[in-house]
């Protein structure tokens, strides 16, 4: 076989793997070059997003099954959500996705100020999203629409006394169907809760990134972290796009 088989038999074989010349400091020792390192990190992020897809996949499956089974309950329960808040939040999140994308662009083109600004905007928009979510949640808590021991059916049995139901001109549900609104709210809280948790984690990382970016961390060519975080943030945005369509917009025309 050929002589090119350069397998190191002994430890003293030419230690030319020097940390000499053009190797930037952020290149970790086990990678051949920066390209490989960035590539591996990006690919790893995508694989991680796959696991996230499957994580939400279980919830979406449950949602689709029960929506089919208990459609009237899902319609009535979704009318309890505010389309205005939902749309605002969707817009906020889309905007934050945009600012995040701009942040990545700034990092790639080495604009430190632009990066810090974009990250700050993303951070703020994330907080706005969570703020609106808090308003929505507290409304549910007030109305006892949180599944569990204190769950209250009156909005669905007696829609005339309920502002949201009246606005949607809902008819009263029979008791057995009204009970199934609890399944809707179970899924609502599980899905939006998991999403909000991802937002909180994202915002925490954003805070750290702003801190580092001000020191010029990501604008010297090593943009992997910003890019990967961008992927995460966009993914969270996509989940919300579906949640909005599925949870808020069931049959608004009735």
């Amino acid at each position: 076989m050929s002589d090119s088989t350069a397998i190191a038999h002994d430890a003293h074989a030419a230690p030319d793997h020097g940390h000499g010349e053009a190797h930037p400091t952020y290149l970790r020792h086990h990678f051949e070059n920066v390209e490989q390192q960035a590539d591996a990190a990006g690919f790893a992020m995508w694989i991680f997003l796959l696991t996230e897809v499957m994580f939400f996949g279980g919830l979406f499956t449950a949602y689709l099954i029960y929506r089919n089974w208990y459609y009237p309950a899902f319609v009535a329960a979704s009318h309890q959500l505010s389309v205005v808040w939902g749309t605002t939040n969707t817009a906020v999140l889309i905007f934050s996705s945009f600012t995040m994308a701009m942040g990545v662009w700034c990092a790639e083109t080495r604009r430190r100020k632009g990066l810090v600004l974009s990250l700050c905007l993303t951070f703020l928009l994330g907080l706005v999203f969570l703020g609106i979510k808090t308003i929505e949640y507290s409304e549910k808590i007030e109305k006892h629409h949180v599944p569990g021991f204190h769950y209250n059916l009156s909005s669905f049995l007696d829609p005339d006394n309920d502002a949201a139901a009246k606005a949607a001109s809902d008819k009263a549900l029979p008791l057995d169907m009204a009970r199934h609104t609890e399944v809707y709210f179970s899924l609502y809280f599980a899905m939006t809760g998991m999403h909000a948790l991802h937002m909180i984690i994202g915002i925490a990382i954003l805070g750290y990134m702003i801190f580092r970016a001000r020191a010029g961390a990501y604008t010297s060519g090593h943009v992997t972290f910003v890019e990967n975080f961008g992927l995460y943030w966009h993914f969270v945005d996509i989940i919300w796009i579906y949640l909005f369509a599925l949870l808020y917009l069931i049959s608004r025309h009735q």
């Binding site: 390209e35 990006g42 995508w46 796959l50 099954i65 889309i94 994308a101 599925l246």
Partner: protein
């Protein structure tokens, strides 16, 4: 070395902010469209349209914001694998639920 190509094609393609702005407007437009469509009486098409618009929006985010349009085949394959498994989980589970309603046989 098979990966040589993958690596080169994955080298950063910087997307211009102009495209980002266009996508942003498309997404906002999509959001408006989906809200508007939900107030129309379309029968069984309501959820279909809602999901179609949501999927369209998600595609824009994936392709442009997440740069998949400019990424290596491997990344595209990864995205595809995710969607495929996701649909397997949903599809095969729902198949059980739907066929249960068909009765004994």
């Amino acid at each position: 070395m098979t990966d040589q190509k993958e690596m080169e094609s994955a080298s950063h393609h910087v997307v211009s902010p102009k495209i980002y702005v266009i996508i942003l407007f498309a997404l906002i437009l999509g959001t408006a469209a989906t809200v508007w469509a939900s107030f129309l009486e379309l029968g069984p098409w309501n959820p279909v349209i809602a999901l179609a618009i949501a999927t369209g929006k998600a595609m824009l985010v994936v392709l442009y914001f997440m740069h998949v349009k400019y990424s290596s085949k491997l990344t595209k394959l990864t995205v595809f694998a995710g969607i495929f498994t996701f649909l397997t989980l949903i599809g095969m589970t729902l198949a059980d639920y739907f066929s249960r309603a068909w009765g004994q046989w």
